[in-house]
Amino acid sequence: MIQILFFLFAALAVGAAINVLVQKHVLYSSLSLIVMLTSISALFVLLQAEFLAVINVIVYAGAIMVLFVFVIMLLNLPADPSDEKETDRLRWLKFIGIPLGIFLLLLVGATVWNVGSAANTTQMPGTAEAIGQSMFTEYLLPFELTSLLILIALMGAVVFAKKDL
């Protein structure tokens, strides 16, 4: 049963990711990315990390992608047909790039093929309590630094998007 779910969500994730590349209009790419994010959250639940799964949906699919969709709608772009003509000289690189990428994938696959087929016996709870206990004792300094990082990113985004600096 778990294997059926794994294959379903894995196929959905890979299909949505490929759809991100294939679509001409960037709004359809963002919507495919949202599908990919929710299927990765489902895979997190299969890995017993349910807190991280809902956090992934809230932060990534519910906030970051809404930002992307807003910007795309506000800029009101058509599917740009002039993209094809401009870059003739780089077109042939695609035929080297994609096989090279598949070769890299086979290399990674061969490396991890024999990793950890033994099932783990200790079930680790992925609850908020387990993450909180580690985050607020051992990783407190990175936690505070990330809050500073978000503050700086917030100020940077406001400054960049202003019309008159």
């Binding site: 778990i2 994730a13 890979v14 890995l47 870059t87 024999n114 680790m124």
Partner: protein, 100 residues
């Protein structure tokens, strides 16, 4: 029970899709989306390893990756808006004024 290497290979495939998208797309928002695909593949790897070794450390690191991705997406989109205002196009090949 799903072996660990299935998750790792799935994450590698997603990472490959993200890398290909980053190299082959011209639209700058599509480039940002490909970076998000790569980050999600890395998140999947971290959580798979954290579940295998029963340590919470992998999930904590995913938290930090999520925070950095949020900050990067916000600033990146602000830059896209500023770039679009000056050039009226989202094609990255039009922003090559410093190229020799």
């Amino acid at each position: 029970m799903i072996p660990l290497n299935w998750y790792l290979i799935l994450a590698a495939v997603l990472f490959l899709v993200g890398v290909l998208g980053f190299f082959l797309k011209r639209n700058i928002i599509a480039l940002l989306l490909s970076v998000e695909i790569m980050l999600n593949a890395v998140n999947l790897t971290f959580v798979a390893f954290s579940s295998q070794h029963a340590q919470i450390r992998g999930q904590i690191f995913v938290f930090f990756v999520l925070v950095v991705a949020a900050a990067e997406a916000a600033v990146g989109l602000a830059l896209v808006i500023a770039m679009f205002r000056n050039r009226e196009s989202l094609n990255v090949d039009r922003s090559n004024l410093l190229k020799w």
